[in-house]
Amino acid sequence: MVRLRTEKLACGYGAKLVLRDVELEVGEGELLAVLGPNGAGKTTLLRTIARLLRPVSGRVLVDGADLWTIDLGRAARLVSYMPPPPPQGFNITVREFLQAMRAPFTGWAPSDGNVDRALRLLELEGFDERRVDELSSGELQRVLVASVIAREAPLMVLDEPTAHLDLKYQVRVLSVIKREAAARGGAAVISLHDARLAATFADKVALLAEGSVRAYGPPSRVLREEVLSRVYGVRILVKEDPELGFIAVPEAPERT
């Protein structure tokens, strides 16, 4: 069991402060969804949690230990961040990419480990020898998610894992992430735009706006009509439908 906690965390780039007083906690297989308007600091927060960006102040704690003071190799085995696509023009195959992502868990030679399992979970069987350059953006997105699954890190951080995905794979990807987090006894921190997906899959939701966490807690408490409408600056209708479940949509604009 691994727990991730942020303590009075302030993050940003150099002198530019993006977020302050971030206090979040996840563990025991939980999934934390970070929502907020464009530019609210979702990516900044996720990169700071994943040790890619040094906190301006405060700490990111994994089982009580400061992620920035522990050895880089150990940190890499604890936290895994969904990478951006690899560079174009190098003829990198899907398998080569996934193997490289497993580096912290392997020795001198590249190893397959659970690469095949990750490919299967994301319905990418037969894609292993395909070149990353030739994939559609949705297929590439699934490969990026698979690279996090192929790593064995208990803490998984994914910035917009559902980007470019069709309706089926949005659900598929989130259920895979949630199941893996639970199976590893760790946690997943993801950013999302779809409040409905957050309500369906997340155990906790953090809503970011104007440089801080505006609401934090279980989805039912955070994803409310008045909270969402205030944060996004547009009227957002929320319904709990017995058949369709949780629905949150912006008020229909005038037809033009």
């Binding site: 890499a76 690899p86 990198i92 992502m101």
Partner: protein, 343 residues
């Protein structure tokens, strides 16, 4: 749509043995090419010490150093190409992008212009001057890139800025050295005309050292290629690794330019050929790039001598040959493999 493979590659040992064979053949051809028409068998007998006389001094004194030097410079350029393409994550990058060639050229031009002729053309002076000039330009590129944030793109742009400025200076210098333009052109276009065993002994440890260091860093280079995020999470500081990679490439390239002038195209093409054949893993790609780079440049040098004789031009600059032969060959590979990879 669902295509199982199509990029399945031959085993690495097969590819490596084949490449080593090509290298060996290239060396034998190179040793047998020249105005004195010795057959490969004669050359072999000389090398085994079974033949004396003029053949001995020509093969040992002229052709062997030249062959070895072209192989070493080719290997250096091949490995430098891999390092620079990985560091910049740009498949179009090549060692000369770092400002090394243009820096070396400007320094050499200045030396030819200012030093007395006897001094300016000694091996040691030219090597030292061009090496220093190349590294100095590279350090400016590195500094600029760092000031611009240290990203792969900033490295490329800094390289272009410095190279362009120095290229302009080179043109100006070649006008000023007019009377000695002939010797300057050797540097501009690249040549092994002046190869000596001393040069071989000099660059051998540098090339061997850079190769060994790159191989030791192969795992980290794999990560660096995949992205800064992947590198950090693999326990590698991407910016430092990037600087280390380009510094190694700069070292190998600077000595290459120092002994043979500017030879284009090898550093760009060889890494692509290696990746086509062996995938992106740096352990394999680096080894293969050294072998293929050596073979390619050795062949190109032999071709430059043979073609020069046929065309009655004495000798063609090897840099022109690498471009003339290399570019169409590369275009062929591009179309061939590019098409195969589509379905």
């Amino acid at each position: 749509m669902a295509r199982k493979s199509g990029t399945s590659r031959p085993g690495f040992l097969v590819v490596l043995s084949f490449s080593l064979m090509v290298l060996l053949i290239a060396m034998v051809v190179s040793l047998s090419t020249g105005s004195a028409g010795y057959k490969p068998l004669d050359v072999l007998r000389v090398l085994l010490g079974r033949e004396g006389g003029p053949a001995r001094s020509i093969v040992w004194g002229i052709r062997l150093p030249r062959t070895l030097l072209s192989v070493l410079v080719g290997a250096a350029l091949g490995i430098s190409g891999v390092l620079v393409q990985t560091a910049t994550r740009n498949p179009l990058a090549e060692p000369y992008l770092l400002g090394i060639s243009s820096g070396a050229l400007v320094a050499t031009g200045l030396a030819i212009l200012t030093l007395p002729a006897g001094l300016a053309f000694s091996t040691w002076i030219t090597l030292t001057v061009s090496f220093a000039g190349g590294l100095a330009a590279f350090l400016v590129v590195l500094l600029l890139a760092r000031l611009a944030g240290g990203s792969p793109t900033s490295l490329i742009l800094a390289g272009i800025a410095v190279s362009s400025f120095l290229s302009g200076t080179t043109i100006l210098l070649s006008l000023l050295v007019q009377s000695k333009l002939g010797s300057f052109i050797i540097w501009l276009l690249g040549s092994f005309l002046t190869a000596t065993m001393d040069q071989v002994k000099l660059i051998l440890p540098v090339v061997a050292g850079v190769t060994a260091a790159s191989l030791a860093l192969a795992g980290r280079l794999d990560l660096l290629l995949m992205g800064d995020e992947v590198a950090v999470q693999g326990g590698v500081d991407p910016e430092r690794m990037r600087r280390t990679a380009v510094a190694l490439a700069a070292l190998a390239t600077a000595v290459s330019v120092g002994v043979a002038g500017v030879i284009g195209f090898v550093g760009l093409v060889v890494p692509h050929m290696s990746r086509f054949l062996a995938g992106i893993g740096h352990r394999r790609t680096l080894v293969l790039s050294a072998v293929l780079g050596g073979a390619l440049l050795c062949m190109a040098d032999a071709a430059s001598r043979a073609a020069g004789r046929i065309l009655l031009l004495g000798e063609l600059p090897v840099g022109a040959v690498t471009a003339l032969i290399g570019a169409p060959f590369f275009a062929f590979l591009l179309v061939r493999f590019g098409r195969r990879s589509q379905w």
